[in-house]
Symmetry: C2
Subunit: 146 residues, 2 copies
């Protein structure tokens, strides 16, 4: 089998196969997109290493890897804002994971909001862009993250 044929076979397996073969990046991480299972709202984008992915699959609760703290991290371990995973999907080339979750507690964002995506970027402009707030604070992070 030529290298090209091998490569094409691998791509077909990756995209049309049933083997879960997540492609972690050079830092051993994969992107996780987290939406609210009921409303569909995008709550956050985070990263998982192999261990975080395995723990999430096994437990049905979301685990991530914090790039800033360089540590495995269970969502809600400090705040109590645990995410119960209702459904997990993988994308075509298996370098991204989609979690549909039931968000326990007030919200997913450490700033005190339901979603991390609380600012809109106006469209149709060039040059400097001013963000527009569209998500309210619903809890006090100083009280939740001690």
């Amino acid at each position: 089998m030529t290298a090209l044929a091998m490569s094409e076979k691998s791509q077909a397996d990756l995209e049309e196969g049933t083997t879960c073969a997540p492609r972690f990046d050079a830092n051993g991480l994969i992107t996780a997109v987290v939406t609210d299972a009921k409303s569909g709202e995008l709550l956050m984008v985070a990263h998982m290493n192999r261990e975080a992915l395995d723990k999430t699959i096994a437990s049905g609760e979301a685990w991530y890897y914090s790039r800033s703290r360089k540590a495995l991290w269970k969502k809600g371990e400090t705040s109590g804002h645990v995410q119960r995973v209702v459904e997990m999907r993988v994308d075509c080339d298996q370098d991204a994971i989609w979690l549909k979750v039931e968000q326990q507690g007030a919200g997913a964002c450490h700033t005190g909001r339901r979603s991390c995506f609380y600012r809109a970027v106006p469209l149709g402009k060039s040059g400097a862009v001013t963000l527009e707030f569209c998500g309210e604070k619903i809890f006090n992070p100083a009280k939740v993250y001690k």
Copy 2:
């Protein structure tokens, strides 16, 4: 101002400010999460460089950067499956972008499906995991990508 105070100020600006200051990674890229503006379905995850982001903001149509082809890329330039951006948001630490789009044409995925996330990862298991298909092919990619 100490380094710590500066760092805290920067984080506050990043998270609570109105200045759009996207944080591109070491490769000059930022993650873009793309959902269907009507159904809320997660369509795809892609990457943008500075130019793709600027073109998307200015034109209201989605541009990305292909890591495999190492090239700027307008979604739909080959397939006709253009994405009209209805709303754009940025997350708390400004390293991810959320696009709510009207997907023109049949679908967003190059495999011929509406969404790239057409396989589910079963939960509650440990060890090898078998993916379950949950998204149908709705167009023939060989005819669309010529």
